[in-house]
């Protein structure tokens, strides 16, 4: 089955200023630097990374806020970026986004009804929308009389639910969730996640779920990718990803998830000391960008950027510990299976 969304060598660089007085060299941030992956229909694809790793840039490029520097994104085989620059309306309808900050994603001067009517009036003009607005509120389990409320009268969780309803309004097949729960209380996080899972079932949606919360991914995602400084380190099925992480960065992240009980601790991979911080994307380290923080650093790492390698059953790793065609590397054995 062809993927619903496919990223091919996507790159997005930002020019943030200029260096030098006479010879003006642009200072670029390589926010996304050659990202390739595919999302299949019905899948919840988790994209995980620290702040500044470029995961939101992937989302914003997908939704059309940015044009890629190079590379393509294909939606069901159709490129999202035509030469004319304008994205066709039928594709805009299919791909929607839920932003991270529910406070900023709803206009404080517009009622819930007006907010939900906007996508409807764009994609189905010349129609009465009040029934559909009520239906959308039903779908996300909000009382219908919330229609005339203004965002300031809603809680953070309710605002996010309205944002989800807005994303559903155009009947999309693919929704980008850009850290949809990170600004919310833990108790509400669960509610939102359950809602999202139910909606996916009901409307056959596919999600690109962006987060920095790995333990959330464990329960939600069907496949997970880890991003570091604009590049993907590892992609695997969720179960495989958490049981058998291969990239040192993944191991580091997984071992730093805080847990409560002994049993949970036993499930985690062996402790890999987390050290250092993500470097500035303006000054990306040479070779493998992770080598400054990597506990298994080898001579080759600062010189050569590793290639993505399939270590079997779609488990992709981009690390010199896994040269092409080789499996069962020592580093893999350090992981508790």
């Amino acid at each position: 089955m062809p993927p619903i969304l496919e990223y091919k060598e996507l790159k997005k660089y930002f020019t943030i200023g200029y260096r030098g007085l006479l010879k003006r060299e642009p200072i670029t941030v390589k926010a996304v630097d050659g990202v390739s992956f595919a999302i299949h229909k019905g899948e919840i694809f988790g994209l995980v990374g620290e702040s500044g790793s470029g995961k939101s840039t992937v989302a914003y490029t997908t939704i059309g806020m940015y044009r890629p520097t190079s590379g393509v994104i294909e939606f069901q085989g159709e490129s999202l970026f035509t030469r004319e620059g304008k994205r066709p309306r039928h594709i805009k309808k299919e791909i929607q986004i839920v932003f991270q900050d529910p406070g900023s994603s709803l206009n404080p001067r517009r009622s819930v009804k007006e907010i939900l009517e906007l996508p409807l009036s764009i994609h189905q003009p010349a129609k009465k929308h009040i029934g559909r607005v009520a239906e959308l509120l039903e779908m996300v389990e909000l009382p219908v009389d919330y229609m005339y409320k203004y965002p300031q009268a809603l809680s953070g969780g309710e605002k996010q639910i309205v944002a989800i309803a807005r994303a559903l309004a155009t009947e999309p097949s693919f929704i980008i969730l850009d850290e949809p729960t990170s600004a919310l209380d833990v108790s509400i996080q669960g509610k939102i996640i359950n809602l999202l899972l139910r909606l996916r079932q009901e409307f056959h949606l596919s999600y690109l779920f962006i987060t920095h919360d790995l333990s959330l991914m464990r329960n939600v995602a069907s496949r997970v990718a880890i991003m570091y400084l604009g590049k993907i380190c590892e992609v695997a099925e969720a179960s495989e990803f958490f049981r058998n992480p291969k990239h040192p960065y993944t191991q580091m992240l997984l071992s730093s998830i805080p847990v409560v009980s002994e049993e949970e601790e036993a499930l985690k991979p062996k402790r890999v000391q987390s050290r250092g911080e993500i470097p500035s994307p303006v000054n990306i380290p040479s070779g493998c960008s992770f080598h400054l923080r990597c506990p298994y650093k080898m001579d080759i790492c600062p010189r050569v950027d590793p290639q993505m390698v399939d270590t079997g059953s779609g488990h992709l790793v981009r690390c010199h510990l896994y040269p092409a065609q080789t499996e069962n590397h020592p580093a893999g054995e350090q992981v508790i299976t």
Partner: protein, 314 residues
Amino acid sequence: MTEVTGSWASGLQGEAGHVALADWQELQRRSRRENIGRAWYKFSRNPLSVAGLVIVLTIVLLAVLAPYVTPYPHHAGPFTDFANAKLPPNPRYLFGTDTIGRDILTRVIFGFQDALLMGIVVLALVVPPGVLLGLVAGYNQGTWIDTVIMRITDIFLAVPPLILALAIASVLKPNLMNSMMAVSLMWWPWYTRLVYGLTSQLRNEYFVKSAETLGASKAHILFREILPNCVSPIFTKMSLDMGWVILIGSALSFVGLGVQPPKPGLGTMVADGARYLPDQWWIPVFPALGIVVIVLGFNLLGDGLRDLLAAEEV
């Protein structure tokens, strides 16, 4: 999906749907009343802003009803009564009479008419283009559109309004109309600057990004998403500016470029009366107090609106 749609569509077509719709409208009315009530409560907590509102409303009412509430309406025009000239304040003429025997109280109240007219006309001329340019420049921040609009704005800001009004009035006929035009010409850049600043922040909000990615038109984004979020600061500035414009109008009248005699202009009355100081002090002092009160009223009201805004943001 279709199941849900079906059940709802049928529900809305039935009687129950209509009842519910009426209920929602009732709910909308109620929540609007609640919002207004809350805003008024906050506003009324500050006695100074309430005083400003009372002053402004009183002056507006007096100006509109001037022919009916003033003791001697015919004194507003070319009327002379030399027998009663230069009378100090007394029970018949509360503010005294001027050099040709006209009631100063009557003339001050009629003077409010042109003062308010000046403020209203100038703001009506200034706010729409100023706001529109600010929206367009702010939304296109960083492009050539921004550069062109904002540099022109800067040029206009560099000219002092009073001096330009003097220049225009000396070239054209000195009257209220021309001085209003002159002040308007210099005043719109302040609104452009205000709205520019707000818009360039608002355009990065996710709700604007969301409307953009949904495919909303530029007009929708500017007037439906961004403008409603600028309305409160604009109103605050308008209220404060009313005071300023009236002050400038009075200054123009004072130097003889605004309201022309025999119509009563507050500034003109102060100018004409100034030479009778200090013996016939009431001739210039009461019109001057009129200016003070009207400007003070609008400033207090503006401050109150600004505080209301600040409280809303918390």
